[in-house]
């Protein structure tokens, strides 16, 4: 045996793999993958997108006929004359979100306004953690709401059920179920400095080393990990072409959403995807039709619209849910920006979404008395009632299980989906 193996190693590096793993070498596997049916088939996929830094919901979707808002923001208010696009006679959308407008008109995109947390913290970190853990005010929650939700999705889980396109595992994904964070699909897995062939060789070596470990945990997690690596490497990502002529803009978020689309179409068993985009903390020179807010909005809408087009026939399987930790002050501050507030808005995109509408409650006039703590857009919709509705309906989690996804929550889902 030893002799045979040595001879093979000398002859071909790749032959080693077929021996030690009992599988086929990667180039053959890729060729086979193109012809054979993939193991997991199509699944419903929830795509969660976190806008970190707290998006100004009142600039994204503005109650344009409110003189109190106009007065509170002499340099930042945008009405229809400043370029906002009317949605329903009351609210209008920032022009940089234009790529999403057709989806709104077609009834696939919904806005929910006045969304936020029941916990009043205005700290980014606390609020993001609470939102991702799904337990406002409780810091000791060990797991994230998406991991708990994924735990309710039935037994045929792929090792790529939960994938975050982020540089580290997001809190939403913490928990018992296998979840992976990937910054780049092409480079996920064992990477050694000597190139892809050496990486393959080391991957096989480590898979075998962990499979033979005396430690039970190392064996189990090793198996899960190398399976995930396997699943993700089965497809030749480098040859990917977006569908339906979709053109992704050149941004980090667009590259990440493009990879989510790749995963969905590769049918690797993805059910919950997560990614995030920063830069929404607009304390200084927020801008109007142009400026830092507009840049972030254009990046988000351009990437999301391209993603949706790219999905093509897979659109029926996918719902996108955006979220941000809180909103911003109604009044502009002394640096032509806005400070940390409470309620903001979010977007839900999908063919099952009750779209083309602005859901939620925003006071008729944003006068001081109508504001939360006299300064902020009041939180009128608990984010959990939106998350539970969207994730629950789209992924098929019964209402009776909402308490498992959001421990301690006794609220009701807010109706946002058609079914």
């Amino acid at each position: 045996m030893g002799w045979t193996r040595r001879a093979l190693i000398k002859g071909s590096g790749l032959a080693l793999l077929s021996l030690s793993l009992g599988g086929t070498p990667p180039f053959l596997r890729r060729a086979a993958a193109a012809a054979e049916p993939l193991p997991h088939g199509r699944r419903k996929v929830l795509v969660a997108l976190f806008q970190r830094g707290a998006m100004d919901g009142l600039m994204a979707v503005t109650p344009v006929h409110d003189p109190a808002l106009a007065a509170a923001r002499p340099n930042l208010f945008m009405g229809l004359r400043q370029g906002q696009t009317d949605l329903d006679g009351r609210f209008a959308m920032h022009p940089a979100f234009a790529p999403l407008l057709p989806l709104y008109r077609e009834g696939r995109l919904a806005v929910v306004h006045g969304v936020g947390s029941v916990h009043k913290t205005r700290s980014h970190f606390d609020a993001q953690d609470y939102m991702e853990m799904g337990t406002p005010g409780v810091k000791s929650t060990p797991s994230g709401w998406l991991n708990r939700a994924a735990g309710l999705l039935g037994p045929r889980a792929s090792s790529a059920r939960m994938v975050a396109l982020t540089d580290k595992l997001p809190r939403s994904f913490y928990g018992d179920r296998p979840a992976i964070a990937v910054d780049d699909l092409q480079s996920f897995g064992i990477r050694v400095p000597d190139g892809p062939e050496a990486s393959e060789r080391f991957r096989a070596g480590f898979a075998s080393m962990y499979a033979g470990s005396a430690k039970r945990l190392a064996r189990r997690v090793g198996k899960e990990s190398f399976e995930a690596v396997e699943v993700l490497r089965k497809t030749d990502w480098s040859g990917y072409r977006p569908g339906d002529g979709a053109v992704y803009p050149d941004s980090a978020l667009a590259r990440r959403l493009r990879q989510v689309a790749m995963l969905i179409k590769a049918e690797v068993g993805l059910e919950v995807a997560f990614t995030d985009a920063g830069g929404w903390d607009t304390h200084v020179r927020q801008g109007t039709a142009a400026g830092s807010f507009a840049d972030r909005a254009a990046e988000l809408s351009g990437a999301l619209a391209a993603f949706w087009t790219d999905l093509g026939p897979y659109q029926d399987d996918v719902t996108v849910l955006t979220m941000t930790e809180f909103g911003r002050t109604v009044e502009q501050n002394g640096s032509l920006g806005t400070d940390h507030g409470r309620g903001s808005c979010l977007f839900v995109l999908g063919n099952e979404v009750d779209g083309g509408r602005v859901h939620g409650t925003v006071p008729e006039r944003l006068v001081k008395d109508a504001l939360e703590d006299g300064r902020d857009l009041p939180v009128t919709t608990d984010f959990r009632s939106v998350f539970a509705e969207v994730a629950g309906k789209h992924l098929g989690i019964p209402r009776s299980h909402d308490g498992l996804v959001f421990p301690g929550w006794e609220g009701q889902r807010r109706r946002l989906m058609k079914t």
Binding site: R5, I9, L16, A54, V118, H119, K120, T121, R122, S123, H124, F125, D126, D129, P136, G137, V138, K139, S140, T141, P142, S159, K168, L169, P178, I180, A181, G189, I190, R191, V192, P193, D194, R201, F202, G205, F206, M209, G212, K215, L217, A218, V221, G222, E224, S225, A228, D281, H283, V284, R285, T329, G334, S335, L336, D339, D373, G374, R375, G408
Partner: protein
């Protein structure tokens, strides 16, 4: 030496412990009874009571005698000029809290300061121009970017101490106790104070009395901010709008990373139970330690008025008021007791009555009660046993440790000595069931290959990927200390890649003396490299299984086999355990 060895390795030494009391630490390490050689015992000690062995250290400790080495470590305070020299690059380590605040200034604070001085008008200045002006202002006033305080200095010093320091047990214990009394740089109020928190409330006390450390953490601003006690106050009559606990909503009025103070900040008066609860649940009694919700509320009432010296003008004003003889304010360093915020009514905590009219001393008495409580002895014993012995420590061991804790009045060095003298501790050397935390993995890798740490930032990014953002863990529970919490698919892939990258010379800021980047090609065969790096990374251990996988994976014609072999050993399942 041989005599002592024959006598069952009993070494009797006097250790002077913090607090000035000298007492005998009688160390009798029963490793022979568990079938371990002196070498194996040394290796086990270095893996559990240090951040892993450095080259040749197993032999040195074995030569000195494991008991002698441990006695020195339990005394602590070893002279360490090499470390002192390395720590010079972190100026914040020798600054007071107020100096730190003066020097490390965020962009937001700098902008406001420049605005108020009339040297910057954000509304009428382009972003590029603003950046330039701010950089110039920093230069002229000797100011450092805020993030440097925690990204470079706080995190950097920890890595340097773990890799290069001689007081290894104290440093391991500092990690343990920091995690026990967790605070985080992700909390806005605590952020600038985490460095002094570790320096003053944790590190000096890890071999001293538990009560001293408990008191130091309770009064440190980092903890007072992190668990909201700064917001907890008695309501003046008629203005009571109670805020209860953190979960009820409405405790946080903190702004965020850059927020200016809100124009109108509604005042909240009321009790905040957050710290009182965690004090009992996480720091002392444990969740089943026998306290009630009523005790939580009562302890919160006792601690009303325990607050923090503010920064800047507000600090000056308070100092002036104290100088003028204001008796409602009592300052102790950065701790500030505000008598007018204190609930002076009668209270009852764990069955002990506190008559009305008490002040800051009530809090001290509550800390005494908690530190002396049998549940605390058990809770601390369990956590130490889990950290140093096994995920599921034997009940008899926990009972022994709790006994030492109670008998010695919470003498932490004595508890560690009891632990090291238990057979359960030595029995673990055979199974090696404790998984290394990512930080322990990193530190032990760098020690084994005799690393020189020049920059810590790249390593910190690896730590985040592996699941341990240093000083950045939000929950007050600290990281759970059992294997499953560190091991998941993403984290394991990151661990493996870390090992391969480190050995391949691909992590910036680090050079490895035992694995130099510049070296002639193929200086070693795979077998030679296995012998060399096996001895460094997995000393006194059977590596035959791993070696056979390594031989299968590394082709004969590969370049730099030393790097590849070391990478595979670092990434092996064996090296993930201690």
């Amino acid at each position: 030496m041989v005599m002592t060895w024959r006598l069952g390795l009993a070494v009797s030494l006097f250790a002077v412990l913090a607090g000035g009391s000298a007492h005998a630490v009688e160390l009798n390490l029963p490793y022979r009874e568990e079938g371990l050689s002196r070498q194996q015992a040394a290796a086990h000690l270095l893996e559990r009571f240090a951040f892993g062995p450095r080259p040749g250290e197993v032999e040195r400790v074995a030569g000195l005698g494991p008991a002698k080495w441990l006695a020195r470590q339990l005394t602590g305070g070893l002279p360490d000029p090499g470390l002192d020299e390395r720590l010079k690059v972190f100026p914040a380590l020798s600054m007071t809290q107020a100096e730190i605040h003066e020097v490390y200034v965020s962009n937001g604070r700098l902008r406001r300061r420049m605005q108020s001085e009339g040297v910057l008008d954000p509304a009428g200045t382009s972003r590029a121009e603003m950046r330039r002006k701010m950089a110039q202002y920093r230069e002229e006033h000797g100011l450092q970017p805020y993030h440097r305080l925690f990204n470079r200095e706080l995190r950097g010093q920890k890595l340097v101490r773990a890799v290069h320091g001689e007081d290894q047990l104290a440093e391991v214990l500092t990690s343990f106790w920091f995690n026990h009394f967790n605070v985080t740089t992700r909390n806005r109020g605590a952020r600038s104070r985490v460095l002094t928190y570790e320096r003053e409330a944790i590190r000096p006390h890890v071999l001293g009395k538990f009560r001293t450390m408990l008191g130091a953490t309770a009064k440190h601003p980092a903890m007072l901010y992190y668990l909201d006690n700064v917001r907890s106050r008695m309501a003046p009559p008629g203005r009571n709008r109670p805020v209860r606990g953190a979960a009820g909503g409405g405790t946080g009025l903190a702004g965020g990373m850059m927020a200016a103070a809100p124009a109108e900040r509604p005042r909240k008066f009321g009790l905040n139970e957050n710290y009182a609860r965690e004090l009992m649940e996480l720091h002392t009694l444990g969740v089943d330690g026998g306290y009630t919700q009523r005790d939580v509320t009562e302890v919160a009432r006792v601690l009303t008025g325990w607050g923090v010296m503010p920064y800047g003008e507000r600090r000056t004003k308070i100092e002036q008021r104290i100088a003028r003889g204001n008796r409602n304010l009592v300052q102790q360093g950065e701790f500030l007791f505000r008598k007018r915020w204190h609930d002076t009514g009668a209270k009852e905590v764990l069955g002990v009555t506190f008559p009305s009219g008490g002040g800051a001393a009530e809090g001290e008495r509550v800390l005494d009660l908690l530190a002396e409580h049998p549940s605390t002895a058990r809770f601390i014993a369990t956590k130490l046993a889990r950290r140093f012995v096994s995920d599921h420590p034997p009940e008899a061991l926990v009972a022994r440790l709790a006994g030492t804790f109670a008998r010695t009045g919470g003498d932490l060095a004595a508890v560690m000595a009891t632990l090291a003298q238990s057979r359960a501790f030595w029995a673990e050397a055979r199974t090696r069931g404790k998984i290394k935390s990512p930080f322990e993995l990193v530190a032990s890798s760098l020690r084994a290959l005799d690393a020189d740490v020049r920059r810590s930032r790249p390593v910190m990014q690896w730590l985040e990927r592996m699941g341990q953002p240093l000083y950045g863990y939000t929950p007050p529970t600290g990281h759970p200390d059992y294997a499953a919490s560190w091991m998941n698919s993403g984290a394991l892939i990151a661990r493996i890649n870390f090992g391969v990258h480190l050995a391949g010379g691909r992590i910036r800021g680090i050079s490895l003396k035992r694995l130099p980047k510049r070296r002639r090609r193929d200086v070693m065969t795979t077998d030679k490299a296995l012998a060399v790096y096996g001895a460094l990374l997995l000393p006194a251990r059977d590596t035959r299984e791993i070696a056979s996988e390594v031989r299968k994976t590394i082709p004969r014609d590969a370049e730099r086999k030393d790097m590849k072999v070391a990478g595979m050993l670092l990434a092996s399942p064996e090296f993930q355990y201690r």
